[in-house]
Amino acid sequence: MSMSENDFELLESYLDDELTSIEMGDLRRRLADEPELESLLSELRISREARADVWTSFEPGDKSVDLLVRNVRREVNRSLLTQRYTRGVRIFGSVAACIAMGFAGGYLMRGTPAASPVVPVADNRSDTSLATNDTSDQPPGNIVWNTNTAPSAGRDPNGYLVSFTDIQGNLIGSQRFKTLNEAREFMRDFQLRQQQQKQLQNNGVKMVADQF
């Protein structure tokens, strides 16, 4: 009587200690009654023993084991050093990135200069006595200079105040003169400078230094 595949599997499971107690009891009864099954079991046992010798032959000697342990230890050391180095580089990179972002943010959010070197425009809104006759050819600019006769010369010992304001009317500077003539002379000089700068700008030349 030939054994079925199920019998093989059953006996293998028995040898692998994978049967439940009920299955084990059934198998023992069958083994007692069926000598062929008993014979097959002993064959499987012998095969298993032969294979056990093979598995043992795969085991390495002490030399190989020591070599492996040494190699793993060396790799562990290398890995730990690499991790430390990588962590350092990461921290340094983070700090550098923060600094760079700070600079970039500052650059992007920078405002326009408070006082632009654009040619000022004469604007005598409050004091006609200081107004120039010709303002039509004044170049447009951010800065308007405004002359005010603060207190009149006769009543104010501080003299005449010439103030510079930008287009929005914000005060950006002032100059006080003792006499009205000095104030006018200053304004004339300024107008002369305006004209010079306008000429230079129109010719595409940048003025480095100049004198009134």
Binding site: E5, E18, E43, I46, F58, P60, G61, S64, V72, L80
Partner: protein, 184 residues
């Protein structure tokens, strides 16, 4: 000598490093045997084990290193099977240094053992891995299934088929043993 100024030892900051190294030292012999049984001479078992354990080391914080046996075996089996996936590794030379370093070195290898080794090497990779874990490591079908990411019935089938394929190789040996009354 003072330790001031010396860089801190990274091992002292990570207790798992010591546990890991102890685990490798304790299990390396069996891990090498498993690797050898699975990859045969198609790859170096030392490389397989080293790669497997270093993969674990990279993620050592995830694992419990107090009971590392199953973890290490699983890693080695999977690494061995990964290496055997196509394209196949080229054969390593027959005069592999480890060959003469086995416990049977100096003896003429039993003919049956050699024949069975060759027959085992011809088994499909998963059959071989399941059989090694079952018969060499004495793992249960459930544990083997977990190691190989398979179901228990699948593992049973693999082991059964592997044994049936080896049966022919061992037929003469078994009959000889039975005649000589060698069976238990």
């Amino acid at each position: 000598m003072s330790d001031i100024g010396k860089p801190p030892n990274p091992r002292t900051h990570d207790p798992t490093v010591e546990l890991f190294e102890k685990a490798v030292a304790a299990h390396s012999r069996r891990l090498l045997a498993i690797a050898r049984a699975i990859v045969g001479y198609r790859a170096s078992p030392e490389d397989v084990v080293q790669q497997a354990v270093m993969n674990l080391f990279q993620h050592r914080a995830r694992y419990d290193w107090r009971e590392p046996g199953g973890l290490l075996k699983r890693a080695v089996v999977n690494e061995a099977l990964r290496l055997l996936r196509p394209p196949k590794m080229s054969m390593v030379s027959d005069d592999h240094p480890d060959e003469m370093d086995t416990p049977i070195s100096g003896m003429i290898e039993n003919e049956t053992t050699k024949t069975v080794r060759d027959a085992i090497a011809k088994l499909p990779d998963h059959f071989r891995a399941a059989l090694v874990l079952c018969e060499y490591e004495n793992l249960s079908y459930q544990q083997i299934a977990e190691s190989l990411n398979a179901s228990v019935p699948q593992v049973k089938t693999w082991i059964h088929r592997a044994r049936r394929q080896l049966e022919g190789t061992l037929k003469g040996y078994v009959e000889g043993r039975r005649k000589s009354g060698g069976s238990a």
